[in-house]
C-alpha cells in the first residue's frame, strides 16, 4: 500500500508544466482564440503544429506505448499527472485523447494494422482522434490523420480522408470539434467481438479518467487565478480576498478539489491494473472468470466517481472564480474564462454528469453487495 507518486512521475509532470507555461501561456491562448466577437473561433481550434512538435520532444504522445515501438512504456497512473497539467493549461491540441486513449488502444490491439499506426502515433508523426458514441462530437478530428471509431463491439481505424467531417463550434474556441460520417468496412476494422468490446470499455474508462484529471488541473488553475486577483483587487479600502465570504468560497472549492484528487489517482491506478490484465489476456491480474465482473464493476465505480467529483470541483471553481472576479469575471479581458469554458466542455464528454451518476448509483445501490465495490479494500473477505 503506497499512495505516493515517484520522483520520476513528478519530474515528468513538472517538465510538462514548464513547457506548457511557455507554449500554452494565457497570452498564447488569447491570441489563438482570436478576436472576441469572432464567435466562430479559429477554424483549427487553436491547433498549432509547432506546439505539437514540442510535446513530441518530451515523448508525450508515446507515453503509453511500449518501448519496443519507441514509446516510454508507461502506464495510466503515470499519464494522469500529465493529463492534469494539460488541463491546467487548457491546451488546444488533443494530446490527452491521442496519447491517453488512442495509443494504448492500438498498443493493446492484436491487428497488424494497429501496430503499424502505433509506431507513428507514439512518435507523434501522425495524430489520432477518438469518436465514442456517448460523445456528440469528435475532438481534434480536423487535425487528425486517422480516427478511432466504434460500431457495436467493433473498433475501426478510419483515415481522415475517408471520413466526412462537419465542424461543430464549441463555447471553448480552443476545442476543434466535428461530427464524423463514415462507413465501416473490413479494411477499417481493427478488432471485434470480445476484444473489441474490451478495447471500447477501456477506451471509455480512459476518456473519463483523463478528463477527470484535466478537471483537477483546471480547478487548481482557476483557484490560483481567483486567489491572485483577490489579493490585489481593492474594494472598501482592502483587498477583496480579505473578505470572509470570498475566502470561504475559495476554501469550499479547495475542499472539493483535494478530495476529488485521490479518487482520480485511484481510478488511474485501477485502470492501469485492469488494462495490464486485458492486454495480458488474463482479464485482470489474477482475476478468474468469476471475479472479473466484480473487478470491472469496481473499476467503473471509481472511474465514474472520479469523473463526478473532479468535474464538480472544476464546476465549483469556475462559478466561485467568476463570482469572485465580479464584473471583471464576466469580461473577455481576464484569463479565467479560457479555463471555465474548458471545464464546461469537458463536463459533457466521455459520459456526462447524469450518465456517470446513474452508473454509480446502479453499481453502488442496486443489488451488488456494496462491500465488494470498495475502491481500496478489495482484498477483503
Amino acid at each position: 500500500m503506497d499512495f505516493t507518486f515517484t520522483e520520476e512521475q513528478r519530474m515528468m509532470a513538472t517538465a510538462v508544466r514548464e513547457l506548457l507555461d511557455d507554449v500554452a501561456a494565457p497570452a498564447v491562448l488569447r491570441a489563438a482564440a482570436g478576436a472576441p466577437e469572432l464567435n466562430e473561433g479559429p477554424a483549427a481550434g487553436g491547433d498549432d503544429p509547432q506546439r505539437w512538435a514540442r510535446l513530441v520532444e518530451l515523448g508525450l504522445p508515446g507515453m503509453l506505448a511500449p518501448e519496443v515501438v519507441g514509446g516510454l512504456g508507461l502506464q495510466d497512473i503515470d499519464f494522469v499527472l500529465v493529463a492534469e497539467e494539460v488541463g491546467r493549461a487548457a491546451l488546444p491540441e488533443n494530446l490527452v485523447e491521442h496519447a491517453g486513449i488512442a495509443v494504448p488502444l492500438l498498443a493493446a490491439c492484436s491487428a497488424p494494422r494497429a501496430q503499424a499506426w502505433l509506431t507513428r502515433a507514439a512518435a507523434g508523426e501522425v495524430r489520432l482522434a477518438v469518436g465514442h458514441p456517448l460523445n456528440a462530437t469528435v475532438l481534434g478530428a480536423a487535425a487528425s490523420d486517422a480516427l478511432l471509431l466504434f460500431q457495436g463491439d467493433e473498433v475501426h481505424l478510419v483515415e481522415r480522408a475517408a471520413a466526412t467531417l462537419q465542424r461543430q463550434a464549441s463555447v471553448d474556441r480552443l476545442r476543434s470539434l466535428a461530427t464524423v460520417t463514415w462507413t465501416p468496412a473490413a479494411a477499417t476494422l481493427l478488432a471485434g467481438g470480445a476484444e473489441g468490446a474490451a478495447l471500447r470499455e477501456l477506451a471509455f474508462a480512459r476518456g473519463a479518467v483523463v478528463n477527470a484529471a484535466q478537471a483537477l488541473g483546471l480547478a487548481e488553475r482557476m483557484v490560483r487565478i481567483a486567489v491572485d486577483y483577490a489579493s490585489t483587487r481593492q474594494q472598501f479600502g482592502k483587498p477583496i480576498g480579505s473578505y470572509q465570504a470570498l475566502k470561504h468560497h475559495m476554501a469550499d472549492v479547495q475542499v472539493q478539489l483535494e478530495y476529488a484528487r485521490p479518487v482520480v489517482y485511484a481510478a488511474a491506478a485501477r485502470l492501469a491494473e485492469f488494462a495490464a490484465g486485458v492486454s495480458s489476456g488474463a482479464g485482470t491480474a489474477g482475476a478468474t472468470a468469476a471475479t472479473a465482473p466484480a473487478l470491472l464493476a469496481r473499476l467503473n465505480a471509481v472511474v465514474s466517481g472520479a469523473k463526478l467529483m473532479a468535474m464538480e470541483a472544476a464546476d465549483l471553481a469556475g462559478r466561485k472564480g467568476l463570482q469572485l472576479h465580479g464584473a471583471m469575471g464576466y469580461s473577455w479581458e481576464v484569463d479565467l474564462h479560457f479555463y471555465v469554458k474548458r471545464a464546461w466542455a469537458l463536463a459533457g464528454s466521455w459520459g456526462d454528469r447524469a450518465w456517470h451518476q446513474r452508473r454509480l448509483e446502479s453499481l453502488v445501490l442496486d443489488g451488488v453487495v456494496t462491500d465488494d465495490l470498495a475502491v481500496l479494500h478489495h482484498e477483503h473477505g
Partner: protein, 387 residues
C-alpha cells in the same frame, strides 16, 4: 375580503388584449443577440413597434406614453409577453430603472423631456455607475462633474455599462464636490453618449459580444439642467434606482416561469438520460419560479395598497439570480455532450439557446450589486445584525 388569487374580469380582459396584440406582433424569427450591433438595432425596432401599440411601459401615465396600469396588470402584461416568446427589452435600463427614478425625483420639465422618447423607444438608455476602482464599493466614485456656469464638465472613467455600446444616453453619478468623499458630494447626471468629450468602448464579454462598455469622459460638457435632483443628492437617488433594479421590475417572474416551462419540455425530451437529481432540479425550477411569482404578486399588491419596498429587495436579487443559474445548470446537464455547442453549430439542433442562457446566467449573481453585497444588506438591514 381576504387573500384572493383570482384575476378580476377586467384583468382577464386586459390579459386577452395583450395576448392578442402579442400574437399578432411578436417577431416569428428569433432576433440576433441584444449584445451585438445588428441585434441591438433589431431590438430597438421591436421597442418602437411595442411603443406603437402603447405597450412600451404599461404602468406609466398616459401622458408619458403609458397606460396607467396597476402593478398586477403589469405582471399580467409580462406573463403574456414572455408566453408569446417576445424579445428581451433593449430599453430596460430606461423604462425599469431611470423611468421610475425620473418620476420620483425629476422636475416636470425633465419628465416631459425624457419620458416620452424613452417609452417610445426613440432614446435608449445605459447606466454609468461603476468605475474601475468602484464596483461593489460604489461610494469610491472618482468621476467628477465640475460646475462651469450653467454647465457641468465631466471627467472620468465609467465601466460595466450595460447597453453602453449602443445606447443614446447614460445616467450615472459624478462627484460634484471635489472635497467630498464616499457617499457625499455626488450628483446624478444624464449624459448623451454621442457627444463631444464622451468616448465609448465596448468590452467583450464571456460570449465575445460587446454590449457592455466603458465610457471615458474627457471634458464632456452638459447643462446643469441634466442633473436629476439636487446637487449632492446623487447617492440617495442612485440608491433608489438600485432599489428598482433589485426590486420588483427588472426581472419579472414571467421570464423565469417561461424558462421553467421550457426546461420542463427539455426534460421530457431527454428524460431517458436524466438522473434523479436533475429530475428534482427541474421540478424545483417550476416550484421556485411559482414561488417567485407568488412573492412578486404579494409585493405588488402590498405596494398597490400603499406599502414600500425596502432592503428586502435584496432577497429578490439573490433568489432570481440563483434560480436562473440553477435552471440553466439543469439544462446543461440534460444536454450533456451537446451542452458545449454554440447555437450555430449544426449538431446543436435548436438547443444552443440554452448555452447562451447559461452564459448570461453567470452574470446574475454579479450585476446590480453582487450577491455577497445583497447578503450583507439582508443581514444588516433586514435582520439587524451588527455591521
Amino acid at each position: 375580503m381576504t387573500v384572493q388569487l383570482h384575476y378580476t374580469p377586467a384583468q382577464q380582459a386586459f390579459r386577452a388584449e395583450v395576448r392578442a396584440w402579442m400574437e399578432a406582433n411578436v417577431p416569428r424569427e428569433k432576433l440576433d443577440t441584444l449584445e451585438g450591433a445588428a441585434g441591438f438595432a433589431q431590438h430597438v425596432a421591436w421597442e418602437r413597434q411595442l411603443a406603437g401599440g402603447r405597450w412600451g411601459m404599461v404602468t406609466w401615465p398616459e401622458e408619458y406614453g403609458g397606460r396607467g396600469c396597476t402593478l398586477v396588470e403589469w405582471l399580467i402584461f409580462e406573463e403574456e409577453y414572455y408566453r408569446a416568446g417576445a424579445p428581451l427589452r433593449a430599453n430596460q435600463n430606461g423604462i425599469f430603472l431611470l423611468g421610475p427614478t425620473l418620476m420620483e425625483f425629476g422636475t416636470p420639465e425633465q419628465k416631459a423631456r425624457y419620458l416620452p422618447p424613452m417609452a417610445a423607444g426613440e432614446e435608449m438608455w445605459a447606466q454609468a455607475w461603476s468605475e474601475p476602482q468602484a464596483g461593489s464599493d460604489m461610494a469610491a466614485i472618482r468621476a467628477t462633474a465640475t460646475r462651469e456656469g450653467d454647465d457641468y464638465v465631466l471627467r472620468g472613467h465609467k465601466i460595466w455599462s450595460s447597453r453602453g455600446t449602443y445606447a443614446d444616453w447614460a445616467f450615472g453619478i459624478f462627484r460634484t464636490d471635489p472635497a467630498s468623499d464616499k457617499h457625499k458630494g455626488l450628483s446624478f447626471i444624464l449624459v448623451p453618449l454621442r457627444h463631444p468629450g464622451v468616448r465609448v468602448r465596448g468590452i467583450p464579454q464571456l460570449h465575445g459580444q460587446t454590449g457592455f462598455a466603458e465610457i471615458f469622459f474627457e471634458e464632456a460638457r452638459v447643462p446643469v439642467a441634466n442633473r436629476l435632483g439636487g446637487e449632492g443628492q446623487g447617492w440617495n437617488i442612485a440608491m433608489a434606482t438600485a432599489g428598482f433594479e433589485r426590486g420588483l421590475m427588472l426581472r419579472s417572474p414571467a421570464r423565469f416561469q417561461a424558462t421553467a416551462r421550457r426546461l420542463g419540455e427539455l426534460y421530457r425530451q431527454n428524460a431517458d438520460r436524466a438522473d434523479g437529481t436533475v429530475r428534482a432540479a427541474v421540478a424545483k425550477a417550476w416550484l421556485q419560479a411559482e414561488a417567485y411569482a407568488l412573492n412578486t404578486y404579494a409585493t405588488a399588491t402590498r405596494l398597490m395598497a400603499g406599502g414600500h419596498i425596502g432592503a428586502e429587495a435584496s432577497l429578490n436579487k439573490i433568489f432570481w439570480s440563483e434560480l436562473d443559474l440553477a435552471m440553466h445548470a439543469a439544462a446543461m446537464s440534460l444536454l450533456g455532450a451537446r451542452a458545449e455547442l454554440l447555437p450555430h453549430a449544426p449538431a446543436a439542433a435548436g438547443v444552443g439557446d440554452w448555452l447562451e442562457g447559461w452564459i448570461f446566467a453567470q452574470s446574475g449573481p454579479i450585476y446590480a450589486g453582487t450577491n455577497e453585497i445583497q447578503r450583507n444588506i439582508i443581514a444588516e438591514r433586514v435582520l439587524g445584525m451588527p455591521r
